[in-house]
Structures are given as C-alpha cells and as structure tokens.
C-alpha cells in the first residue's frame, strides 16, 4: 500500500493544523492573558455553592468580566492538584474542600494572598477559627471561607417519645450534655424501643470527639501526638457505644437504608441534614436537632481560592467577596444547606425560619451558637492521612470483633509510620 505524495502531504498538513489548534486552545485558556483578563473561570463541585447565587454573579459582573462556572465532578482535590502542577488551564477561581486545605497550605505560593486583595478589611465578618485554617504561618491568606460544618445531634423525636424520653431540643440537650449521659440515654432508648441503635458506627463518634479538642494528631512543631491522652480519650469515648451494644456497626453503604429505620440518633454537621432528608424523606417532621454531646466540633466546610495564574485577581476577588457576602451566604443555606461562615448571616430571615423537616424547629438556634463555640485547632498537612488508621481500626473492632486494646496499638503504630513517611518527626 503506497501513499501518494500529495495525499500524504495533505494528511500531514491537516494533522499538524489540528494539533496546532489544540495546543493553542489548551494554552490560551490558562496561562496567557495577563492580569486583567475578561474571561474568568470558576471551579466548584455540586453543592459547594448555591447555584442560584453563582448564576446571579454571572449577570451581576457581566459588565466587567465573563464568568464561566464549571461544576467539576469526581475527585476534586486530585483534579485541582494535577491542573496546578501542570500550570495550564488553571481556573481563575477555585473551590477547596475544608479537609483538603491543610494539604494545600505547604504550597501556598501556588495561590494569591487574599490579604493583598483586600480580605484583611472584611476578614472580621467571618469566623476567625475558620479563616485561620486557611492561613499560613507567615500570614498569607489562601482561602476565603464559604461554609462551615458545625456539628449537632440529630434525633428522632417520635422514637424518643415512644421511649418516654423528653423530645424538646433543650431538654434532650440537657439529658445528653456529656458523652456518658448520651450513651446512658441510648441504652435506655435501646431497651424501650428494641431494634434501634444510637450511633451508625463508632468512627463517626471518634471523628467528632477528636474535633471537640484543641489538638489533633500532629502539633505545630511537626511532632506526632496521636498517641497522647487527648486522642486516647476520644478513642475510649468511641469504644463506649460498641461495648454498650448501642452501635449499629454500619460500615458499608447501607447508611441510607438504616437512617429511616434502625437509627434513633445521628451525629453530624449542619450539611448532614440534607443527607438525612434525602435518604429518609418519609421521616419528615420526626427529626429534631440539639447540641452535640460534649460540645460542638467542625466537620467539613469549604473555601474559595485564587490560583497564582488568575487572569484578573481584582475582579476575581470582587466576585468571590460578592458570592460569599453574608447576604448571599445566607441564601446558600436555604438553597443547598451550606452553613455560612459569616455569623452576620445567622440573624437573617433566610436562616431564622423553621425547618419543616425538623418539625418546624429553628435549627439555627442550635447551629449558630455551635458555630461560634468551635475550638480552634491546628491541622497539619498530613493530619487526614494520619487519622485514617484510627478509623480503619475502629471499623475492625466492629466488623471482626478485634480487641480494642490491640486495635489501639495497631492504629498508633500505623499512624506513626504514615506520619514518618510524610515527614513528621
């Protein structure tokens, strides 16, 4: 088979042109454009921002720039990391999940310092502990807080009623003020309403118990402290429902099925309300919310950041501070159960209304005070990785009946090794 010279040249020219075009397009959207570009891209994931507010932002700023918002699915952190590492097609504005923020901080130079753009002036509008988690030690502000995840105790008022327990949020909070009291309540509940459990698994208890403290697994001097008393206490707290037999031991994906049936309470952040609502729509009106036993903790809650390649930092900062202004933040709560990081929003009508899923309860009265009382703690870049073995060992106890003492030993050994691998000493 012989190719004619003319045919070959044509084909080659077409291929070259096509690849040339692709390269040109690929480069154009990211690196080129200088510092006053007219086209800005925003990356976020489904549920990170109110879609309505984002749509309004597009029209609101249409005079100055053209904002293109892309909802990125899948593993967001990984996609952002690869794009930043490649340095091309980097979004001008990007979301960063709260749990990933710590791992981005060592590479703060990949992002713009929001303080330079005027965040310093409005920073006081946002919760300090949340803002601080996105700040480097030398004071560079990487993330603009979107939302937070203050935890609470969700409970089934109808089941509590059946067991002859109080159903009023204040009274339940008083009865379950500490972890021990909460577990005692669960034991009583289990006896009166057979077939129901207090917690879905003990890892979730551990997660919140750790978050209630002011220290985590690695301290600010980069030392591993996951074997110390504060973690041990959280661990022992987590083991209690298991030994008391009020642990549903759900470690597979059947939580959705269990939530409307065998679970009488649920520990989780404000955004968790939406999960419960979607998984168990039939239980509408039967749920209530009260303060977390042992005090509030934070779970999740995200940030917006401007990568260094941002083509128009000034406009981009205007856009994010508009999207995340207390007024628009409050709308995020109505639209997508995103709990604002700006306390001023908590008094706005969008948030003070009753929630029909919780029987008309004004849930802000629980989450609002919780949000302000969350302890500030240092989160090291390797923190999430070091925490994982503890969660795994707790699930081992539930699944295989592994002895808690052995599980603790293995978890610490494993966590210590991961810490060493990640350069913690």
């Amino acid at each position: 088979m012989d190719l004619s010279r003319r045919g070959f040249l044509q084909a080659a020219a077409l291929t070259a042109a096509a690849s040339g075009l692709t390269v040109a397009c690929g480069g154009g959207s990211g690196s080129a454009g200088g510092k006053n570009g007219k086209n800005l891209t925003l990356w976020y994931w489904g549920g990170a921002l109110s879609d309505k507010v984002v749509a309004e932002a597009k029209t609101h700023f249409s005079g100055q720039v053209k904002l293109t918002a892309a909802s990125i699915g899948g593993d967001f952190k990984q996609k952002l990391t690869t794009t930043l590492a490649a340095g091309a097609s980097v979004p001008d504005i990007t979301g960063i999940k709260g749990e990933d923020m710590a791992s981005f901080l060592p590479n703060a130079n990949r992002f713009l310092d929001l303080n330079d753009l005027g965040f310093k002036k409005i920073a006081s509008q946002y919760l300090d502990w949340k803002t601080k988690l996105a700040r480097t030690e030398d004071g560079r502000q990487i993330g603009f807080p979107i939302d937070i995840g203050p935890t609470a105790l969700f409970y089934r008022a109808d089941l509590f009623d059946k067991a002859g327990l109080p159903t009023d949020p204040d009274k339940v909070a008083a009865r379950a003020g500490t972890w021990e009291e909460y577990f005692a309540l669960g034991t009583e509940l289990g006896k009166k309403v057979p077939g129901t459990y207090l917690v879905n698994n003990i890892s979730s208890v551990f997660n919140i118990a750790v978050g209630q403290g002011s220290a985590r697994f690695i301290d600010q001097d980069n030392h591993f402290i996951g074997d110390q008393d504060h973690i041990r206490t959280a661990w022992d707290t987590a083991i209690r429902p298991y030994t008391l037999g009020i642990d549903a031991k759900i470690n597979d994906n059947t939580w959705n099925a269990a939530i409307g049936k065998s679970l009488s309470t649920e520990l989780g952040a404000a955004w968790h309300a939406l999960d419960i609502e979607q998984a168990a729509p039939k239980t509408k009106g039967k749920w209530r919310v009260c303060a977390t036993p042992g005090g509030p903790a934070n779970q999740g809650g995200s940030y917006l950041a401007l990568p260094k390649q941002c083509r128009n930092p000034e406009e981009a900062f205007k856009i994010i501070s508009w999207i995340l202004s207390p007024e628009n933040d409050a709308r995020g709560f109505t639209d997508a159960a995103i709990f604002p990081a700006a306390p001023a929003a908590y008094a706005m009508p969008a948030m003070t209304g009753g929630d029909p899923f919780f029987g008309g309860q004004k849930v802000i009265e629980v989450f609002g005070p919780a949000a302000k009382a969350i302890p500030a703690s240092y989160e090291a870049p390797a923190d999430a990785a070091v925490m994982a073995p503890f969660m795994t060992e707790l699930s081992s106890i539930e699944a295989k009946g592994k002895k808690p003492a052995d599980a603790w030993k293995d978890a610490v050994a494993q966590a210590r090794q991961i810490a060493r691998r990640q350069g913690v000493n």
Binding site: S395, K400, G423
Partner: protein
C-alpha cells in the same frame, strides 16, 4: 530504513502519544519512587527510604495478601467456568449469537455500575441476598464486613465480569480445532469427558496459557471493585472496607498517592507490585508449560 521514512512518519502518531502518555509516566514513576513529593511542592530525593517504609508497612503486606486471595478466588472459577461455557457453546446448534452476546455482556458493563449493584445485593442489613436467606430462616450473613466474605464478594464480582471474556477466547480456540480429530476420537471410542481432557485441553494449552497470564495481570489489578464497594468520604476516610479486608494493592497505591498526596510512596508501592506481578507471570508460565515437556 531511511527509505521507508514515509511509513515511519505515518505510524509515528501512535508512538508519540505512547511515548508522552505511557512511556514517560512509567519511568517518571520509577524516578518518583526515590523521592518524596506531595504533587505540588519541591521534589526531594530520599534514596531507598520509600522502599524501606514499604518493607516495614504491615498494610502493604496486608494489601498484597488480600490481592492474592481475591485473585485466586476469582481466576480459578473464571477460567474453569469460561472453558466449560465455551465447550457448551461450541456444541450448541441454535441461538449461537444470542448466547455469545448474553455471556459477553457482563464484560462490557461498567465496573462501577456492577459494583454498586453488588453492593446493594450483598448489603449486610438491607441486601437482596440476605432478604432471600431470611425468607428460608437463615440469619443475615455479614457479606460486607466479614474479612473472608468481603473477598468472596469481590471475587464473585470479578468472576461475573470476566468469565464471558475468557469464554470468547476459548471459543475461538475451540473452533480452530479440526473436527476430524474429534471424529477420529469418537471412532476410537472416546467419550465426551475423555475427549475433553485428552484432546481439547492439550490443543488449547497455548490459549489457556494466554488467558492465565492475562487473568493474572487483570486480576492483580483489581481496584474499582473495592473502591466503589467501600467508597470513602470526608466523614469516613477508611478505605478497603471494614478491617481493610478488601484493600487491594492498587487501592492502597491510590490511597497513598492521591488521597494522602504521597506520590513517592505510591510510586514505590506500584513498582514493588510490578516486580511481584512479573514473578507470578513467570511462575504461571512455568506451571502451565511444564505438562508440555513430559
């Protein structure tokens, strides 16, 4: 060689793409195995440190054990079932095309969809299998929390997916065997079982060897099944199921590199694993070849 430059140029796109997207990453990962890198910051040379961590890492060895168990539990029934099905299909007279398609469909179904389906069917508390067992009075079986049953479910999933694929290959092999040999065997008084073991199996040996090696490579790369069955999220970052009983080596690699941002360690895991796969392929080769010499 230079006189053929046009032909070389014509086939060059494949090699360019291969070089950029396959060849370079493979060797870059080898380079990374000797570094510490979080994906964005500076790359720091650490020598053999990652491999020393690997040697001392009980989770790595656990993941190797899990992978091997799942591999054996899935490959043996897959290849055996495929051979039986292929023989049956070979002798079928009507609806050949239908059977072929029906048996091959599992292989082209998305692994993610199948895993979600299996997760629902084998769920501990609300699964279909346990519901059916319940109707005949058997108490629920902890399919997705018992360390052995987890592996069994994953192996079953893989068997379901890959039996049809291997069957098609065997079927092609069977159709290449001249019918005269079977006629001669029948005239000599050989029954179907004897024909199968004395004629079909020996002639199919090279094809069986091929499927064994392909299945070794495929089976050891199990990743999506446990990843979907025991997906993680912010609130529950444990991977590989309760007690990490479903943690395969590739899942551990993914967890280390992309969840923990420890790319150097991830690279060390896959390179150590590559060596293991090579050893297993050679062992397989020897085992399947041995019968031939005698």
């Amino acid at each position: 060689m230079l006189s053929h430059w046009r032909q070389y140029l014509a086939i060059s796109p494949f090699f360019l793409v291969f070089g950029v997207f396959s060849f370079f990453p493979v060797f870059y990962s080898l380079y990374l195995a000797f570094q510490r890198w979080d994906g964005l910051g500076t790359v720091q040379f650490v020598g053999l440190q990652q491999f020393r961590f690997l040697w001392d890492d009980p989770v790595f060895w656990l993941s190797i054990r899990n992978t091997l168990v799942i591999w054996v539990l899935s490959t043996v029934p897959t290849l055996f079932g495929a051979l039986v099905l292929a023989t049956l299909l070979h002798s079928v007279r009507r609806f050949k095309g239908f059977y072929r398609i029906a048996l091959y469909i599992p292989n082209v179904t998305s692994i993610v969809a199948v895993s979600i389906f299996f997760g629902a069917v084998f769920s501990n508390n609300f699964g279909l299998v346990n519901a059916i067992l319940g109707t005949v009075g058997i108490s629920p079986v902890p399919w997705l929390s018992n360390p052995w049953l987890i592996k069994l479910v994953i192996a079953l999933l893989m068997t379901w997916m890959w039996t049809g694929y291997n069957m098609i290959i065997y079927l092609a092999g069977l159709q290449a065997i001249p019918t005269q040999i079977y006629e001669a065997a029948r005239l000599d008084g050989a029954g179907p079982i004897r024909t199968f073991f004395q004629i079909t199996m020996p002639i199919l040996r090279p094809i069986i060897l091929f499927t064994v090696i392909i299945s070794t490579i495929n089976g050891l790369q199990s990743f999506s099944e446990p990843q979907v069955l025991f997906g993680s999220n912010a609130a529950n970052p444990n991977l590989g199921g309760p007690g990490q009983a479903g943690l395969t080596t590739l899942l551990y690699f993914y967890q280390s590199a992309f969840v923990n941002n420890d790319y150097g360690y991830g690279a060390a895991i896959v390179w150590a694993f590559f060596v293991l796969i090579m050893v297993l392929v050679v062992v397989n080769w020897r085992v399947v070849q041995r019968g031939r010499k005698s």
